[in-house]
């Protein structure tokens, strides 16, 4: 019976225009952030993604202040500019002072977020309660998506994927072995800037559905989950996109069932659940598999203890 209920809800969703947009918008976000999140994780920049997302908030406020529209394109542009700016500030702090990266990230994300809050509350106080709609960018409110938003998100996501496909091998090599890439004559600086820009776009796509506060999870969780199932970068990116897209769709559907629930938290919980499943059950790397392996190895070891695996001999070097 419960299954029938769920099914009827999903049938209802497909018939419902708003929900179709909700699902579509969340899926676009999940797919894009899933793919690009792989690079964030592999470059050990997970929390850099967090700082980028938080730093985008003042951009939304300023864009609204200047344009006066809630049209998604200018807001996303403002957000992207500030996310970029936040990233540069973080790098500048670590490069020119003795402050370490974690504190630099903390400074950027909290100060920019504070500035964003100042701007949002300013808009509220000058424009009255009706301007409160910008709050939805904090935790995401996918039900507010309209058709033009979906088209904008789709175009941006397509742009991300075109860049990712065209520069795939360059992104891969600068991520894996930056100095080797540079020795091949690749402009690593520009490639890194390009990759960061694409990640910024992915973050901005997530503003509507997940919001700035929790966006980091959509960059990391699907990518780490995908990493558990494969040892190949291409497969990892594809799987991560699927996981991200699924989290987006499932999360937004669940959140739309309850009144006034933000989409972001539910999508994040879904993505984390997929990660949990992957950590436990993935073949070869999962906890359960490893546990059974250990048990079996123990038995084998007890059975025969005669052969000692040949260790590689280290050649003596004196320094």
């Amino acid at each position: 019976m419960a299954l029938e209920e769920i099914l009827s809800v999903f049938v209802g969703i497909l018939a419902d225009y708003t929900l179709r947009y909700v699902a579509l918008g969340s899926a676009i976000l999940g797919i894009t952030s899933g793919a690009l999140g792989c690079f964030t994780v592999l470059r050990k920049q997970s929390l850099f993604g967090d700082a980028l997302a938080h730093a985008s908030l003042p951009g939304i406020g300023l864009a609204y202040l200047f344009t006066g529209t809630k049209d998604s394109l200018p807001l996303m542009l403002g957000a992207a500019v500030f996310a970029w700016f936040g990233g540069i500030i973080t790098l500048a702090i670590t490069n020119t002072t003795r402050i370490k990266q974690d504190a630099a990230l903390g400074i950027t994300l909290s100060v920019f977020f504070g500035l964003g809050i100042v701007l949002l509350t300013y808009l509220q106080s000058v424009g009255g309660a009706s301007q409160g709609g910008l709050d939805r960018f904090l935790f995401g409110q996918a039900t507010a998506l309209i058709e033009s938003d979906i088209i904008n998100l789709g175009i941006l996501a397509a742009l991300c994927f075109v860049i990712l496909i065209v520069f795939y091998k360059e992104f891969k090599i600068t991520t894996f072995d930056s100095s080797f890439g540079q020795s091949l004559g690749l402009p690593t600086k520009y490639l890194n800037a390009l990759l960061t820009s694409v990640i910024v776009v992915a973050v901005v796509i997530g503003l509507h559905t997940v919001g700035v506060v929790l966006m980091v999870s959509m960059l990391i969780a699907p990518a780490v989950a995908a990493r558990q199932w494969t040892l190949n970068l291409k497969t990892m990116i594809i799987l991560s996109s699927i996981f991200g897209g699924l989290s987006g769709i499932i999360g937004s559907m669940i959140s739309s069932m309850a009144e006034g629930m933000s989409t972001g938290p539910v999508i994040v919980i879904t993505a984390t659940a997929i990660l949990g499943i992957s950590l436990l059950f993935s073949p070869k790397q999962g906890y359960l598999y490893k546990y059974f392996c250990k048990q079996r190895k123990l038995h084998i070891l007890l059975d025969k203890t005669k052969t000692i695996p040949g260790k590689e001999q280290n050649h003596g070097n004196f320094q």
Partner: protein
């Protein structure tokens, strides 16, 4: 007790900033800023659970539950990280959004909680004067001032009693381990103080902005001094100063007080970053260009000496090609070394090192 509302709010703001800035020094020095960010997010879950269980926002259960959720956060991050599958930063980036998301859903869905999403984001310091502490029906004044005051005493005691342990384990963890100062225990105690401070600060500034009060003044202080004790004092002073300035700006512009405080601390940090003596951008730039000039001077003198040994002439005209510098820069250096009497020109206009120049060149090349 008659204190004006404005003073209560300002006092609350200053106490929040002072508490956070004090603990924050160690977070900056120990590179645990983002871990503290994670904890300050996830105390929300603990707070919400305590409110659901007790039915009110009594400080003690809220603090206990918040601290427990902080410990849960650290343990989960460690568990994921230790498994070898995730790097520490990825583990942090997964654990805190997850626990925070649960907290946010509970806040928005459980009608009995009376915390709205805006409070989670930036607190409600504005209401500090209206929350009064009663003891046997006796009006004791603002509750937030009491709680924050007690917290301040706790934090000062914590740092005062464990000053030696904190200092040693911050600067040399393995040494601390060696002399039995239990750096791991110290770490957990510090994280418990972070969680406690975050829970108490949650009332005033919410779960996200609190990291600004922890990290920003402490980082600014780090650019001003090398001494731990001085850094603690500077951090607290800068924290209090930005809270006061932020509060005044918020009143003036009618915006969120906590947001304004965070922004102000950022502005103060920015000023110190640019203008700090020795470590600021300006003096750094000056120092680097001075050093570069010194080094380039040495390069030129060594070059002239080396070429003289090989009987190859060097003049202002050959420098750009042989050293790869611009003509202007080569000319500037050529003039400088002549002016300082490090070289003289021979009859063909080529450089010959003077005795002073030879001495200086030897200084650089060491042979």
């Amino acid at each position: 007790m008659e204190i004006s509302n404005d003073l209560i709010i300002a006092g609350t703001a200053m106490l929040v900033a002072a508490n956070c800035a004090l603990i924050g020094v160690f977070l900056v020095l120990r590179q645990t800023a983002m871990m503290s960010d994670a904890i300050s997010h996830t105390v929300l879950l603990g707070i919400v659970i305590a409110v659901l269980a007790v039915g009110s926002r009594e400080p003690i259960p809220v603090i206990v539950s918040g601290v427990l959720s902080g410990i849960l956060t650290i343990s989960l991050v460690e568990l994921l990280h230790r498994s070898g599958k995730l790097k520490q930063d990825s583990s942090i980036g997964i654990v805190f959004p997850f626990l925070f998301a649960i907290g946010v859903i509970l806040v928005t869905q459980a009608a009995s909680i009376h915390i709205d999403a805006q409070h989670v984001l930036y607190g409600s310091i504005e209401f500090a004067p209206f929350d009064t502490l009663y003891m046997d029906d006796l009006n004791m004044g603002s509750r937030s001032l009491w709680v924050l005051g007690i917290l301040a005493i706790a934090n000062i005691l914590f740092i005062g009693l464990l000053y030696k342990e904190l200092k040693v384990s911050t600067f040399d963890k393995s040494f601390a381990l060696g002399v039995g100062l239990m750096p791991i225990l110290v770490h957990y105690l510090l994280m418990i103080m972070v969680a406690t401070t975050a829970v108490v600060a949650f009332e005033s500034v919410g779960a996200i902005l609190v990291i600004a009060f922890f990290i920003v003044p402490a980082s600014a202080a780090y650019l001003l001094t090398d001494r731990l004790s001085k850094m603690l004092m500077l951090s607290v002073s800068l924290g209090v100063a930005s809270s006061v300035a932020g509060y005044l700006f918020a009143i003036f512009a009618d915006v969120s007080i906590s947001g304004s405080m965070a922004t102000t601390s950022g502005v103060i940090f920015g000023l110190i970053w640019v203008f700090a003596p020795n470590r600021g951008l300006v003096s750094r730039w000056k120092r680097i260009s001075r050093h570069r000039f010194e080094i380039d001077l040495g390069i030129v003198l060594t070059h002239i000496r080396h070429e003289a040994d090989a009987h190859r002439p060097v003049s202002a005209l050959t420098l750009p090609d042989s050293l790869g510098w611009t003509k202007e820069y080569s000319k500037k250096l050529s003039e400088f070394i002549q002016e300082k009497k490090l070289v003289e020109k021979d009859t063909q206009g080529n450089f010959v090192l003077t005795d002073l120049g030879i001495k200086k060149a030897e200084n650089y090349s060491g042979n």
